[in-house]
Symmetry: C2
Subunit: 333 residues, 2 copies
DNA sequence: ATGAAAGCGCTAACAC
DNA sequence: GTGTTAGCGCTTTCAT
């Protein structure tokens, strides 16, 4: 038998406390203009009645929702880490988050649509494959911040990790260990792959290792890394930088199954510092993205656009950092 | 320059189409009571103007939100799989989902609070450590469906996997392979651990293997499995059933590092069929939960409570299924 | 088949 | 310091 037969409204609290609804509204919002005695009594009555403000009505009336929509993909572990940071940053800025998930059976289009209907004031998009034109049509309605992807539009803010720099860090680390024959397994057509690949190539050239540049086509999945490892087996380099941790895991597995020791024969560096890379038996050296930094800057951009003070650069690129674990060491050959 | 200066309302569409707002409302909802010609014209104008109904206003007026709140934990991979199923089930029942995440810095209390304020009509809770009494106080306000946990309350529906049966399936599988000395690494104080442990013990007794019952204290994390493996090393059984996949992964790692082959020397069975267990180099035999079944039943329970037709049992227990991979085989000893 | 009008629960002017 | 009033954008009788 549940008691939630009728929701308690401001009017109920007002009647019970013997004041007007406006007065209760003031008290509930903590706005100035109410006596201490009244304030206390109203709060007490609200508490007793189990009153909860109706955010819909409130937002409808005030014209603002102070709501930030977030589109994330349930399949991507990194998105979940980022959500954590985003909640903190949004809360600090006085905004609430409203989440809309992309699932194998629920596209970005749908996810964004729901958010628009919720009248959030800006949308933060995690990755995704939405085309620039589509992004632009959303951006024409409300501020859009795209994370972990690029967007060739002046009206879309982008906040992401510096992929090229991450690749530089990986290569620098391996070179400092004494490696020269360093290969790269890329991410295929996934967002960020081109930048990471170019970063690898540039870093190799910077170290005078242009002749050792070797890019193996890969992808974002474990199998992609496994396939790449098989191609590498013929003539193994002493080190490999891989597009992401998952692919690196697949590569590690195939390498070891074929009798190569890591890091004895081959050193491996992943990307993203996902929980997978931290597992004891994987313990992968990787490039970690600054999650809280990314989150804070994304919220900052969104709020600036909402509140009409668009300052600073349109694109925010955050430097990643190297996380050394046990899959890298000095070359034995 | 974005054009979303002002939101387009029903009135705008009505004015543009030369009809009343009520008429537009009818058309937009697809309600009966509008001529075909009018309907088409209104739809065309709405499209041109880029009109989007304001869900807040709509719900405020109609008194219903048709919104189901979901509390999930960003850290739990299984929760994400379940979200996918839940979106489908909710959509089919004519409800929308509103997500509220639990993060390392955002508790269940906060997550539920936001949902209450959003005036959703029921709450679906994934796991969590909320106490029964607290759950009850929420349930006194609106229907609550708890998933992947139990609740000793008549007013809280629970929908979860049959943990005891899962353990039976694991033991049956191992016994059919010829194992007798089968140990169990439990989940400590985590929800479901007691049931899985009891199921293991009962299955062992059922097979006349009571004398081989051996329970090692564990937990939900990888390290818990690793620690348990170290204790097992002294006198290894021929098979182990583990509380979950993550713990099983830690156990596998320690076993192999100590020269034991899997499944040659020891067979291992996990629980949950998470993406981790599917990784090529882990390829763990495990117990899979019926995600779509769980999701469908949870939505069903929630909707029944909302619409006032509470029929059927309060608790829904769904049978899991064995997923055989490569960590189990016939015993060599 | 369509329109006028009331009001969902709340906030924001303004008056008292 | 507190109450009155007028809506926010929409749905929903009830007339027409």
């Amino acid at each position: 038998m549940r008691s939630g037969e009728r929701r308690i409204t401001l009017a109920d609290v007002a009647a019970e406390a013997g004041v007007s609804v406006a007065c209760v509204s003031i008290v509930m919002r903590g706005a100035p203009g109410a006596g201490e005695a009244t304030r206390e009594r109203v709060l007490k009555v609200a508490e007793e009645l189990g009153y909860r403000p109706d955010s819909r009505a409130r937002l409808l009336r005030s014209g603002r929702s102070r709501l930030l929509g977030v589109v994330f993909d349930v399949r991507h572990p990194f998105h979940h880490d980022l959500l954590t940071g985003l909640y903190d940053a949004a809360g600090a800025a006085g905004y609430q988050l409203t989440l809309s998930a992309v699932t194998p059976r629920r596209g970005e289009r749908t996810a964004v649509g729901d958010l628009l209907q919720d009248r959030c004031e800006a949308i933060v998009l995690f990755g995704g494959n939405m085309r620039s034109a589509e992004l632009a049509s959303i951006a024409s309605r409300l501020p859009v911040v795209a994370m972990m992807r690029s967007a060739r539009r002046r009206d879309v803010d982008v906040v992401h990790n510096d992929d090229a720099l991450g690749s530089h860090q990986a290569v620098d680390h391996l070179v400092s260990l004494g490696h020269r024959r360093i290969a790269h397994v890329d991410g295929g057509t996934v967002h960020g792959s081109a930048e990471r690949r170019a970063g690898y190539q540039e870093a190799m050239r910077r170290h005078g290792l242009a002749e050792f540049i070797r890019v193996i086509p890969g992808g974002a999945a474990e199998e992609d890394g496994a396939r790449a490892a098989e191609r590498l087996l013929v003539d193994p380099p002493t080190a490999v930088t891989v597009f992401n941790d998952l692919s690196a895991t697949g590569l590690l597995d195939v390498l070891r199954r074929n009798g190569l020791s890591v890091p004895g024969d081959v050193s491996v560096v992943g990307y993203d510092d996902t929980s997978l890379s931290r597992l004891a038996h994987i313990d992968l050296t990787t490039i970690g993205q600054d999650i809280d930094g990314l989150a804070a800057r994304a919220i900052e951009r969104a709020v600036e656009r909402i509140e009409g003070t668009p300052s600073g650069p349109r694109a925010v690129i955050i430097p990643p950092r190297l996380v050394v674990r046990t899959t890298t060491g000095a070359p034995s050959r």
